[in-house]
C-alpha cells in the first residue's frame, strides 16, 4: 500500500489520507490501521474515524505532539505481506427489507427515472453484497457501497423533514439505513425492522468492514424478528384486532 499523507485538522486531529481509488481493499487497510492504533497504545489518542479513503485520528496535544503522533501512526502502518494477522473479525449481516409502498416512497420514482420495473430495481439492490465503508451521519448509520450503476440516483432535491428509523435509501452509488428517525435526503426504497443501534445497551449492529446483504420480504408479516414496537409501526397500535 502507498504511504498516506498526513494533514492537521485543527489542533486536536490529524487526517491520514490515501490518494487512491476507493476500494474495499483500501478501506480494509484503513480499518486494519484503526485496530492497530486501538491496540498500539499510543498515548493521547481520543477517537478514530475511518472513512472511504481517510482515517481521522483525534488526539490530546497536551499528551502527544503532532510530529510524534504521525511518527507513531507511520510506525503502525500495516505491511501488506507480513501482516495478515486477524486482529479483528468482520461479519456478514442479512437485513430483511420490505420494499416500496408507504415504506419505500421513492422506489417508483427510481424505477421511472431509470426506465425499469420496480421489481428490477429491487432485484438489483438485493443483488450485491455491500461493504460497510463508514458509519456516520447518525449513530449506527452505515454507508454501504456500491449499488449497481443502473440504480444509482442522486439525493432528493427536497430533503424530508423526517425519515423513519429503519428506512433503506440510495444516494448516488451509496446505499444506507437510517438507524434513527431523522431529517434526510436519501431516496427511500424500503424499510427494515432490524435495529441498528440500541442506546440502552450500547449496541451497534454494524462496524466498518462488515458486509451487508439485503433480503426482500414480500409480505409485511414475514419481517424477521418483529418486536412489539415494529409491529406497532407497521400496523398502528391496533390492539385487540
Amino acid at each position: 500500500m502507498e504511504k498516506p499523507f498526513f494533514k492537521p485538522a485543527g489542533d486536536l486531529a490529524v487526517i491520514v489520507e490515501w490518494k487512491l481509488p476507493v476500494t474495499p481493499e483500501l478501506n480494509r487497510y484503513i480499518t486494519d490501521l484503526k485496530f492497530r492504533l486501538e491496540l498500539g497504545e499510543i498515548p493521547g489518542i481520543t477517537d478514530i474515524v475511518p472513512a472511504y479513503s481517510t482515517l481521522m485520528v483525534f488526539y490530546d496535544p497536551g499528551v502527544i505532539e503532532y510530529s510524534l503522533l504521525i511518527e507513531e501512526i507511520s510506525r503502525l502502518l500495516p505491511r501488506e505481506q507480513s501482516d495478515r494477522r486477524k486482529i479483528h473479525r468482520n461479519k456478514t449481516v442479512i437485513i430483511p427489507v420490505f420494499y416500496g409502498g408507504e415504506y419505500g416512497p421513492d422506489l417508483e420514482y427510481i424505477a421511472a427515472a431509470k426506465n425499469m420495473s420496480v421489481e428490477d430495481v429491487v432485484k438489483m439492490h438485493c443483488g450485491s453484497v455491500y461493504y460497510v465503508y463508514m458509519i456516520g451521519f447518525l449513530p449506527g448509520f452505515p454507508y454501504l457501497g456500491f449499488v449497481d450503476e443502473r440504480i444509482s440516483v442522486g439525493r432528493r432535491s427536497d430533503p424530508r423533514q423526517m425519515v423513519p428509523a429503519g428506512s433503506v435509501g440510495i444516494a448516488g452509488r451509496q446505499t444506507g439505513i437510517y438507524s434513527i428517525s431523522s431529517p434526510g435526503g436519501w431516496q427511500i426504497i424500503g424499510r427494515t425492522p432490524v435495529k441498528l443501534f440500541k442506546a440502552e445497551n450500547n449496541e451497534f449492529l454494524l462496524s466498518v468492514g462488515d458486509k451487508v446483504i439485503f433480503k426482500p420480504v414480500g409480505d409485511k408479516v414475514k419481517f424477521s424478528d418483529i418486536d412489539p414496537e415494529c409491529w406497532g409501526d407497521l400496523y398502528g397500535n391496533s390492539e385487540g384486532d
Binding site: 477517537d47 481517510t54 497536551g62
Partner: protein, 321 residues
C-alpha cells in the same frame, strides 16, 4: 455521610441540557462527541467546586431555567452572563455560592455570551450512555432521558454539602467573553481546494452568525467563499471547529454535536481554545477569522492546561482534598 440533594425544575428555560466534557471513542459508530459547548467555562465551574472536571452539570442557552432547591446546595455559575438571581437577589458568577433549601435560582436575561453553566458540588446524578452523561438531542441520548429540562423535572445532586468553601475563579484564569471577537483558525485540511482569492475573501471578511446556530454548528452569513471543486471530497471525519463551505459558498462552523462525517470541504479549523469562545456567540454576532500555526495553537492549548492545573491545585487546598 452521603446524602442526595434534589432540585425541582420550575421552568426549563430556552434549552437547558445536562452535559459533561463529552463522549469519546464512538465517532466511528456515528456518535458525536457532544459535551459542554464552552468546555473551559464548564471545567472552571467544576474545578471551583472541587469536583472532577468531567462532573455532569447544566448548560443553559440564551435564557436560563428557574430552579427550586429542595435541599441546601453549593453551586458555581460560569460562562455567559444571564443575570442569575437567588430569590430575586443578584447571585455572583465565577465563584462558589451556598444556596439554601427552598431558594429559587432564576435568570433575568442575557447580558453577555450565549451559554451559562450551572455546576453543583457533587454533580448531577445521571446515567452514563456510551461513557458520558452528555445530552445528544438528535438521538435522544444521555442526560435526562436524552432531552432538555422541562417544568416538573427533578434533578438529583450527588453527595450533599458537607461544608461550604469560598472559591472564586480569578480574573486571570477565566475566559473573557466578548462580542465580535477575532477567532483564530488553523488553515485546512481542505484549503488546497480553494483559490487564493477565495481564501483571501474568507480571511478578509467579517461574518455574522445566522439564525441557524445550534449545538451541531453555526451557519455564517457574509461574502460567499467560492470553491472550485466541492464534489471531490469523499465524506470523511469532521474536526471540532471545522469550517466547511457548502455548495453555495456559505461557511458552516462545526461544533460539539456535529455529524461525525461530512463531505463539504473544510477550509479552516477553529483552534481548540477558541472553540469555547466561538460557542458563546449568538445569532447576529459578528466574527472574523485569523490564521495561526499549529505550533501556536499547541502552545495556547498547553498554556490553558497549565492555568487549569494551577487553579485545580489551589482549589484542592481550599476543599482540603
Amino acid at each position: 455521610m452521603i446524602c442526595m440533594g434534589t432540585v425541582k425544575v420550575i421552568d426549563g428555560g430556552a434549552l437547558t441540557t445536562i452535559q459533561d466534557l463529552g463522549r469519546f471513542g464512538y465517532q466511528s459508530y456515528g456518535v458525536p462527541q457532544s459535551g459542554a459547548m464552552d468546555s473551559f467555562a464548564f471545567s472552571l465551574g467544576n474545578i471551583a467546586l472541587g469536583n472532577p472536571e468531567n462532573t455532569p452539570g447544566l448548560e443553559c442557552t440564551v435564557s436560563g431555567p428557574v430552579l427550586e432547591m429542595q435541599s441546601d446546595e453549593i453551586l458555581c455559575i460560569t460562562g455567559g452572563d444571564m443575570g442569575a438571581t437567588v430569590n430575586g437577589d443578584p447571585c455572583p458568577m465565577w465563584r462558589t455560592v451556598h444556596v439554601k433549601k427552598g431558594s429559587v435560582l432564576s435568570f433575568q436575561g442575557l447580558k453577555s455570551g450565549c451559554r451559562t453553566y450551572i455546576c453543583f458540588r457533587g454533580g448531577i446524578r445521571c446515567p452514563f450512555v456510551l461513557g458520558s452523561a452528555s445530552t445528544f438531542l438528535k438521538a435522544s441520548m444521555g442526560g435526562l432521558d436524552g432531552r432538555e429540562l422541562r417544568s416538573g423535572d427533578f434533578l438529583f445532586i450527588e453527595g450533599g454539602p458537607a461544608g461550604y468553601k469560598e472559591v472564586a475563579v480569578p480574573h486571570a484564569v477565566r475566559a473573557g467573553i466578548v462580542n465580535s471577537p477575532e477567532i483564530r483558525v488553523l488553515m485546512g485540511p481542505q484549503d488546497d481546494l480553494f483559490s487564493a482569492g477565495a481564501v483571501a475573501t474568507f480571511l478578509g471578511s467579517q461574518y455574522q452568525v445566522g439564525v441557524q446556530a445550534d449545538r451541531m454548528g453555526y451557519r455564517l452569513s457574509g461574502p460567499a467563499v467560492k470553491c472550485g471543486d466541492t464534489l471531490s471530497v469523499f465524506s470523511q471525519g469532521t474536526p471540532l471547529g471545522g469550517i466547511q463551505i457548502d455548495g453555495e459558498g456559505v461557511p458552516i462552523v462545526l461544533l460539539r454535536d456535529r455529524q461525525t462525517v461530512g463531505g463539504y470541504p473544510v477550509i479552516a479549523t477553529v483552534i481548540s481554545v477558541d472553540v469555547d469562545l466561538f460557542a458563546q456567540l449568538k445569532p447576529g454576532d459578528m466574527v472574523r477569522f485569523a490564521p495561526v500555526s499549529l505550533q501556536e495553537a499547541a502552545t495556547l492549548y498547553k498554556e490553558r492546561l497549565r492555568v487549569k492545573n494551577e487553579f485545580r491545585e489551589a482549589t484542592r487546598c481550599v476543599w482540603g482534598e
